[in-house]
Every structure is written in structure tokens, then in C-alpha cells.
């Protein structure tokens, strides 16, 4: 969604200071990553996961993006054109990250509170059974003070779809199409650190320069919402009101200024999280491993599980 970029950059320097350090995680073994979010730009955005997606792809994963809404509200072109432009720019963004495909579910943007959530969940279960991901990446349904109904509800539907897709008692009609139950092993949820008590992340994934560059470019691909006429002048005026001046903006046109600010923002947030994890760049997530729901068995499994004999 549209950002209040300038305020974010200025105030963001203060946000999150004093946070606990994040443990660094590794990319789990696997081949398929399924990312499900409500909107065209949620693969990246300010708190986003574009860098992590790029890292999974560079690690050898094939990655797919589910856009649950139709994004008709995002942009100044009226509902149908916004939908078409935002979908096209989703493609531009996910290609930069190295993803394979966009699956658009087209639920009405910002009207996802009253939808039958089990119907959305069924769509996600179907797609999990079709793509058989090792890793599911989405929004953390327990993020505090999430005001956007699309984010709340896609997150809730996804966290249930992620485990119910493995049950043969759930939507057995899917099996008529030759599908089989599939329990995705790993769930990563994204949230913001700077809303209310914020997201309590339990892992950070390190990013390299290339992944941060892709993240910067992926968000900038969403020109319909992030490129505004007058962006440079508006930003300079707001900076001046705070007694600040950024020389790089002087020579930039509006398009370039929008891009510059997006790049700075993505770079700053990646560095900020990286600093909390003791590396140059990172993104933080809430991670649930395949046995997360069985906390009582964790110690027993750790002590007794063996490597399976290879077939």
C-alpha cells in the first residue's frame, strides 16, 4: 500500500532502537516457495520480504505469488484501470525478484472483512495442493494493530490453509482433480516492527547486496502507486519544513525522486534489521517450523530423530 515515505524515512531512524537482537536463520531445504498476500506490492513494501524472496530464488527455489485482491483502490485511475495496471506491475515486480508466476484471486480490494473467509482459505488450500510448496510466506496474522482488513484476513486464511492442506478430511473434492494432501513444512510471517507492540520476530534472514538491490527495484516497479507528479517538490517542501535538505533530490525529476526515495527506504530498512541481527542487511520474520504446533514434543524429537535412510 501507499507509504508515507518521507515521514517514514525520517522517523524510521528512531523506530526500533533498543530492539532485541534477532537470531539469524538459514534457508530451509526445498524447491518451492509460495507467497500469498492481498496486494500487488506486498511482495516487497516497506516492511516486506522482497529481499527474502530474492534470496530463496537465488538459493534455487521456484517462487509463486498469490495476489488475493484486485487492487482496484490503489492508484488514481479508477477501479478497473487500477486493477489492470497494478496486476501488470505485479508481474514487473515479481520478475525482478525472480519469481515464476502471479495467481490473482481478485477479491475486492479493501472489502475483505465481510468475505466468506473459508472460501478464500479453500482457494489457498487448492493452490498449496497444486504447487506443493516447501515454504509458505505471508503476513503474520498476529501482528498487532493491523488496520487493513485485507492483510488481516488473508493472513488468517493462509495460516490455516498452510496446515489444513495436509488433511485428507479437508476439501476432499480437490482429490477428484488428481491432487493430494500437502502439508507445507515451513511458514514465515511478516509484520511491521513499528505498529503498537509490533511484530515479534523470531528469526532474521541475511540479505546480500544483490538481494537488496532487487528489493529496491521490485518496489519501484509499482509506478502506479509510488510515482506521483510533484513528488520531488512535495518532498523537498516537507524536508525544508523540518530544516532538512537532501542534495540528491535537487537534480532529480519527479520519477527519479520517487525511485530514489524508494531505494533509500528499502536500503535503510534492510540495514536497520541487519544491524539488529549483526549483519549488513536482513529481513525479520516470524517462523514456524514443521513441528511448531507440537511444542511438547520438540525436545523429544531433537533428541531422538534420526536421518532417514536414503531410498
Amino acid at each position: 500500500m501507499r507509504l508515507c515515505l518521507l515521514l517514514g524515512i525520517v522517523s524510521g531512524i528512531l523506530i526500533g532502537q533498543g530492539q532485541n537482537r534477532f537470531p539469524l536463520g538459514e534457508i530451509p531445504p526445498g524447491k518451492i516457495l509460495l507467497v500469498a498476500q492481498p496486494h500487488h506490492d506486498d511482495h516487497t513494501t516497506d516492511y516486506g520480504m522482497g529481499g527474502v524472496i530474492a534470496r530463496f530464488v537465488e538459493h534455487g527455489y521456484k517462487a509463486y505469488y498469490i495476489r488475493a485482491s484486485n487492487d482496484e483502490k490503489d492508484g488514481a485511475n479508477g477501479y478497473p484501470r487500477n486493477d489492470i495496471i497494478n496486476l501488470k506491475e505485479t508481474w514487473n515486480g515479481i520478475r525482478i525478484l525472480g519469481m515464476e508466476d502471479v495467481i490473482s484471486l481478485n477479491w475486492r480490494n479493501d472489502f475483505m472483512n465481510p468475505i466468506p473467509l473459508n472460501e478464500l482459505r479453500e482457494q489457498l488450500i487448492f493452490l498449496i495442493r497444486k504447487y506443493r510448496p516447501d515454504v509458505v510466506l505471508g503476513h503474520n496474522p498476529w501482528e498487532h494493530y493491523q488496520k487493513n482488513p485485507d492483510h488481516r484476513n488473508v493472513a488468517r486464511a493462509l495460516v490455516e490453509a498452510y496446515w489444513l492442506a495436509g488433511y485428507d478430511t479437508v476439501h476432499p473434492e480437490h482429490f477428484k482433480l488428481g491432487m493430494k494432501p500437502h502439508a507445507a513444512g515451513h511458514f514465515y510471517g511478516k509484520g511491521r516492527l513499528d505498529w503498537g507492540l509490533g511484530q515479534i520476530s523470531n528469526v532474521a534472514l541475511e540479505l546480500n547486496d544483490s538481494q537488496v538491490r532487487k528489493k529496491e527495484r521490485a518496489i519501484a516497479a509499482h509506478r502506479n502507486v509510488y510515482h506521483n507528479p510533484g513528488a520531488r517538490r512535495a518532498m523537498q517542501a516537507r524536508l525544508a519544513a523540518m530544516g532538512m535538505h537532501v542534495p540528491e533530490l535537487d537534480a532529480a525529476n519527479d520519477d527519479d525522486a520517487s525511485d530514489l526515495i524508494l531505494h533509500w527506504w528499502m536500503n535503510w530498512i534492510s540495514r536497520d534489521i541487519g544491524g539488529k541481527a549483526g549483519v549488513a542487511y536482513a529481513e525479520d520474520l516470524y517462523y514456524m517450523d514443521p513441528q511448531y504446533h507440537l511444542p511438547g514434543l520438540k525436545a523429544y524429537i531433537d533428541a531422538n530423530a534420526r536421518k532417514a535412510p536414503s531410498e
Partner: protein, 293 residues
């Protein structure tokens, strides 16, 4: 995040004795037992009259069975498990498990208000709807409805029709919020003990064997859990020797390890070896401590 000092309230002194009291245990699914079974056994052992309300029908929790067969077996096995804990009555609403988002909040709430007014419990137990990171959202929906019912059962303008049939408002004086210990912030104290249930631990060491027998009676659920665990380990190239052959003995052993692990987790940082943990709302919940002194 500001790390506030962990406030630990020793369970026993604050909680009321259970003898002669009626308790209503509200469950979203079969998970109630591993969260609260020891405490329920302790209370029934002290003379409490316990009633279990199963909101969901557990129709998904099996391995290789149809939803209908699964629901029937899980109903019978939940009743057997409840008996082993000393629960006198089991009421099954029969709503389809993992589909509870489709059931209106007020429908579940009002059915629970009806039961609270009819049975007039002193103790109510229900899933903590404020707990985070439990992917089974039925627990959130049922917990929210039960918490609402606890609050609303005392007001005469709820359930106007049954009120004319003699169902008088009722205040439940003690509430236990239970949850699976997956929420990393589950023990953080809230701002105040007034109107906010506080973290407590209950020593279940003496009741553990009874809780275990009851949990092992949930054979259909347990077999599903064992098979899915085996499958997920295999997907990661691992195996548990215990589950090389998934028979009753192996499943029972897995249940024991799970309950021991949970009880040890819940006891960590307390004087107990095996415990259950709750958020508890007793007398301090509605009456600030300064007035109690």
C-alpha cells in the same frame, strides 16, 4: 520491546478451592485436554462437578477416515477421556471443526450463556482468544465467544426468551483461560490485575498419570497426530524410531512424551516439576488488590 519483569503468581493461594463447585469447560477441539486436563482432574478430585462443552466436532482429526466417522469416534473418545478426568457430563454442539469462522460469534456465545445460566458454574475454563501464534483459529473463535458469554451471562437483557423460562442471569466468579504454550509472550504480565487475567501455574505432578490415561483415550486424534508427524519428518529426511511402526503402543508413548514435554515447559521457572499454565481471573480480577488489603 520493553521486557517487563516476569510476574509469576503461584497458582494455589489465589485460586478458590473447587469442592462443591460446578465448573464448565468450553472446548474448541480435542486440544482442551493437553492444556487443562490435569487441573480439571485436580478439581474434580476435590469434589467439583465438571461439565465439558465441545463446540467443534473434531471431524478433521484422524488418519484415513471420513469426516463423519472421525466425528463419531472423536465424540465417543472425548466422552471416555472426560470420564477418566472425573467430568460428569459432556455436551457436544457438533459444529464442524475448522469451519467455525462460518458460525456467527453470537450463536456460539448465546448457547454458552444458556448453559452458564442453566448449570450456574463457579468456574469457567475456555481457550484464550488473546493467545497468539496458535494456527488453529477455532480456538480463537470459541475462546472469544466463551469470554463474551462469561461477561454477558450476568446481564438480564441477553437471551430474553429463555429468561421467561426461568433462566436467570448468573455471574461466574472464576475464569481460567487456557492455551497451547506456543505464544512466546504468553507469560508477560499485563498492565494491571484488575480486569486482566494474570498468568498462573498449577502443579499437576500428582495428576499426571490420570491426565495421561485420559489423553491416551483420544485414540483417533492421537493416531492422526502420530501419522502426520511421521510424514512431516520423512519430508525433511528424518525419522523417529518410535514411529517406524505406528501401533497403539507407539502412539501411547508419543502422547506421553508430548504431555511430559508440555508439562515441563509449563513448569519451567516455577517450583513445580509438571504444571499447566493459565491466565486466571479470580477475585482480584474485578476488585483491585488495594481494596482487598
Amino acid at each position: 520491546m520493553i521486557r517487563r519483569r516476569f510476574l509469576q503468581i503461584a497458582g494455589a493461594p489465589l485460586m478458590g478451592a473447587a469442592a462443591g463447585k460446578t465448573m464448565l469447560v468450553v472446548a474448541a477441539d480435542a486440544g482442551w485436554l493437553e492444556c487443562a486436563g490435569g487441573t480439571i482432574a485436580k478439581m474434580t478430585g476435590e469434589g467439583a462437578h465438571a461439565i465439558l462443552v465441545r463446540v467443534g466436532n473434531d471431524e478433521k482429526e484422524s488418519w484415513g477416515l471420513t469426516p463423519e466417522e472421525t466425528a463419531l469416534r472423536n465424540r465417543k473418545e472425548s466422552e471416555a477421556a472426560a470420564r477418566l478426568l472425573g467430568i460428569q457430563e459432556v455436551i457436544s454442539f457438533g459444529y464442524r471443526s475448522s469451519e467455525l469462522r462460518d458460525v456467527p460469534h453470537t450463536t456460539i456465545r448465546d448457547r454458552l450463556i444458556f448453559l452458564i445460566r442453566h448449570h450456574r458454574p463457579a468456574i469457567l475454563m475456555f481457550p484464550n482468544p488473546h493467545a497468539e501464534h496458535d494456527r488453529n483459529l477455532d480456538r480463537y473463535y470459541v475462546g472469544a465467544a466463551a469470554e463474551d458469554a462469561w461477561h454477558c451471562a450476568r446481564f438480564q437483557n441477553f437471551l430474553p426468551a429463555p429468561s421467561h423460562g426461568g433462566l436467570a442471569p448468573h455471574i461466574v466468579s472464576e475464569a481460567y483461560y487456557y492455551s497451547s504454550p506456543v505464544d512466546p509472550r504468553r507469560r508477560e504480565p499485563e498492565s494491571s490485575s484488575t480486569f486482566v487475567p494474570q498468568p498462573i501455574r498449577v502443579d499437576i505432578a500428582e495428576l499426571f498419570a490420570r491426565k495421561l490415561r485420559a489423553a491416551q483415550a483420544l485414540r483417533t486424534v492421537n493416531r492422526g497426530t502420530a501419522m502426520r508427524l511421521k510424514q512431516s519428518l520423512e519430508a525433511a529426511g528424518r525419522r523417529l524410531p518410535l514411529l517406524d511402526t505406528v501401533n497403539d503402543r507407539a502412539v501411547d508413548k508419543l502422547v506421553e512424551e508430548n504431555l511430559r514435554g508440555l508439562a515441563a515447559m509449563c513448569a519451567a521457572g516455577s517450583p513445580y516439576k509438571l504444571a499447566e499454565e493459565f491466565r486466571y481471573a479470580g477475585i482480584e480480577y474485578g476488585l483491585p488488590t488495594k481494596y482487598l488489603r
